[in-house]
Symmetry: C2
Subunit: 282 residues, 2 copies
């Protein structure tokens, strides 16, 4: 019964949506554009155009979603019901600069871009920010992901929310300032953590340390640091203790692993400074 | 039936052990000593002495395991069947320096200490290195943990392995040099990851970002970086792209979060250098 209700609800949402958003174009052909364009295509939207500065990149994605690749924008190519801008922040305004007064709803997908800037190009604008790391080559499942949405009118907020809810139950309204903070946190949670663990893993491989030795400690660490209150007080290890003799021995031993050595030294200094008030200099 | 066999096997191991190790003393009363002494006590070993330089610390632990606290060592206090040394690496030799020619089996618990150094104090020595992060206040479950063991004779290797197997199925023989590499990896997997995530989490709390927004990205990151081959090639984010404009904007925005700001700047520089050959200086 619940299942049937859920299906009816989904169908009516879709019917509602079909009145306002049937066609979509994408500006960008990178990691985010590729994942979103494919997801929209699978849900039954018509993808009109894929724009990229490099026509070849536009073509690769366009072929996958039955769209037309372009590397020039004009009024006609921005006539879809929804325009999704998934470009690097610092080129968005440049790419759109030839565009004036379009009637489409235009949304960007960036953590840091100020949504109001889209007001120069259309009077219907907003943001759909999927909070996850994407790679072109990997089809990310969107169901578990949070989508943070913003719009300049209640009507378009509803439209954008309905679109996002086709992909995930987790759709949250958030303004540009809060979203910027979230993005900055995401850089730590994803980019920095990824870099640290990739280099550490590489060091383990060089030294024939089996991954199964390591995963228990890693998962316990993620738990302790992220799910426990006052995690910083639970810091352990040589730098926490101020055990500079061991730290220096380790740094020496890492002379054949320069990348991990640099991380080791940098991080040990950060932790020494945190807990020993700049008393030690490596 | 399997259960009964397992119990019989455990009983005979225990009987075997009872011939060689009935009494245990601990040198140290910190995070590792506290967790191990309590675990040995629970398994039915008699704990003779807890040594600490600070008698008060020895007393706190000794009370929990029905042992005698001491802050002076002599032949009598090192007469237990097994002596477990869980002291900071750089004081182990100092603390033991008054000791000569004891007949007990003496083991240390450190990742970086060279086991052969214990040969100066006893001709029966080894190592039991539990690869996990411990805190005095938290009773860590030992079943899932890897124990890395070493000994200077096959007989004592067997004894040490049997003792370790009372706590965990994952007991692996490893020499001092390999163990040192493992310890260095553990510093990255635990200490550095913990520091990074604790500071990031604190930033999220300051900015009222709900943990449920963040955990999906974090778990995906751990997966991508640690369980996927060639993880470094999957690096994403502003520093990977060389998007210095966003990085600088983020650093400016972090002026009220100096700890996270420092991590942000340090890490972005590491990743810029990695992927853009020292082209950018923040």
């Amino acid at each position: 019964m619940n299942n049937i209700n859920a299906r009816i609800a989904k169908l009516s949402i879709f019917a509602l949506l079909m009145n306002s958003v049937k066609t979509v174009s994408f500006l960008g052909s990178g990691n985010v554009a590729t994942n979103l364009a494919k997801a929209f295509y699978k849900k039954g939207f018509v993808i009109d155009y894929i724009y990229s500065n490099t026509l070849n990149n536009a073509t690769i994605l366009a072929q996958k979603v039955n769209a037309q690749p372009i590397n020039q924008l004009d009024k006609k190519t921005l006539d879809s019901d929804l325009i999704v801008v998934a470009l690097k922040d610092d080129i968005i305004v440049d790419v759109l600069k030839t565009v004036t007064n379009i009637s489409s709803l235009i949304v960007h997908t960036s953590g840091s871009f100020d949504t109001a800037k889209l007001g120069a190009f259309s009077n219907r604008y907003g943001c759909i920010y999927p909070f996850q790391t994407f790679r072109k080559e990997i089809e990310t499942q969107l169901e578990e992901i949070h989508f943070f949405v913003e719009a300049n009118s209640p009507e378009d907020m509803e439209t954008i929310s309905i679109v996002a809810k086709l992909f995930s139950e987790q759709v949250v309204e958030m303004n540009s300032s809060e979203r910027k903070s979230l993005h900055i946190a995401g850089v730590g949670l994803n980019n920095f953590t990824h870099y640290l663990l990739s280099i550490t893993k590489h060091y383990c491989e060089e030294n024939n340390l089996k991954p199964e030795y390591l995963t228990n400690l890693l998962m316990q660490t993620v738990n302790n640091s992220f799910y426990v209150d006052g995690a910083l007080n639970m810091q352990t290890g040589p730098a926490r203790r101020g055990d500079v003799a061991i730290i220096k021995e380790h740094i020496d031993q890492l002379e054949n692993s320069p990348k991990y050595q640099r991380i080791y030294k940098t991080f040990s200094q950060l932790i020494l400074d945190e807990f020993h008030e700049n008393q030690f200099k490596l």
